[in-house]
Symmetry: none
Subunit: 156 residues, 2 copies
DNA sequence: GTAAATATCACCCGAAAGTATGATCTGAAT
DNA sequence: ATTCAGATCATACTTTCGGGTGATATTTAC
């Protein structure tokens, strides 16, 4: 049995355990004295650590965050195909809607007679409109009017 | 004489000076012991101050700045540069260079008279050119010609 | 309501645009 | 040398354009 062996070697075990305890005590005392001998350095190190952390915390909490602004230019390509009517230009020139309508048909290359037929009015009316049109646009012919209208985005 | 007076009070002066020195020594010893008594606290305070400063410095030096990215959209217009003369169309219509020249001036809105002056020829010549032009382009007026020429990329 | 702006139409006239036809002249191709 | 395309010019004629003037509805703004 195992208990029999223990009993037989009782004294040996007791001696061994006592020796182990003594060694442990000695080691513990040694460590204790090391700590006591260096208590000041340890304390100082702890203070250093704590106050470094405090300093970091203070700096992070109390300073304004650093902000670096990076400006990235992004090129946007605009195509002429998407035509946007220039209402401002119409108002600037003081063109009425009817006059603009006539202008658009002139730019398509229609004659006064054709425009009159399309709008169900007389040629004389179209002449009056176009005259006022040229006056307001400061041009002297229908071809110039068409050219200028395209430049000013009054027509596509 | 002054030296006489000093000689006469020699002992008094010696006593006074001795007393003053003694008091000074006592005060010095007192201050020394105060410092020695509190040497640990002073040292700890100094460490705390130094390492707080270190922490602040570390935090300021080593933190990454916040990066704010601002995207600025830069508009790039292509319409002025995207014109490529349509030589094929000119050849398909059978337009001569002179006719094309006249066509371009017509599209600018110039009158026959103005075109004639610019090209140093007579109005009749311009009329001949424009007539042949309209015939080849299958249009009936200068305004139509200008419109069609722009559509066909014969002019910008 | 009245005034101002807009849209409509008419008539006249001169200028410009466009058509038709024909005539040189030149340079390049055959 | 001849042919052919392109450029030039002219004359005659028709059509369209654009300016000028005036008149009448219609709508919009105050």
């Amino acid at each position: 049995m195992i208990s029999d062996k223990i009993y037989r070697h009782k004294q040996n075990i007791l001696y061994g355990v006592s020796l182990a305890l003594l060694l442990f005590l000695l080691k513990w005392l040694e460590l204790r004295f090391i700590i006591i001998d260096h208590i000041f350095e340890i304390y100082a190190g702890a203070i250093a650590l704590i106050f470094t952390a405090l300093g970091i915390w203070l700096a992070l909490k109390l300073t304004k965050p650093k902000i670096t602004t990076v400006v990235v230019e992004k090129e946007v390509f605009l195509h002429t195909s998407d035509f946007h009517f220039n209402k401002e230009e119409q108002e600037r020139l003081g063109l009425s809607n009817r006059e603009l309508e006539v202008l658009q048909l002139i730019a398509l290359g229609l004659s006064n007679q054709e425009i009159a037929e399309r709008l169900f009015v007389s040629v004389n009316t179209i002449k009056t409109h176009s005259s006022r049109l040229f006056e307001k646009m400061e041009v002297k012919s229908r071809t110039q009017a068409a050219e200028k209208a395209k430049r000013m985005r009054l027509i596509p």
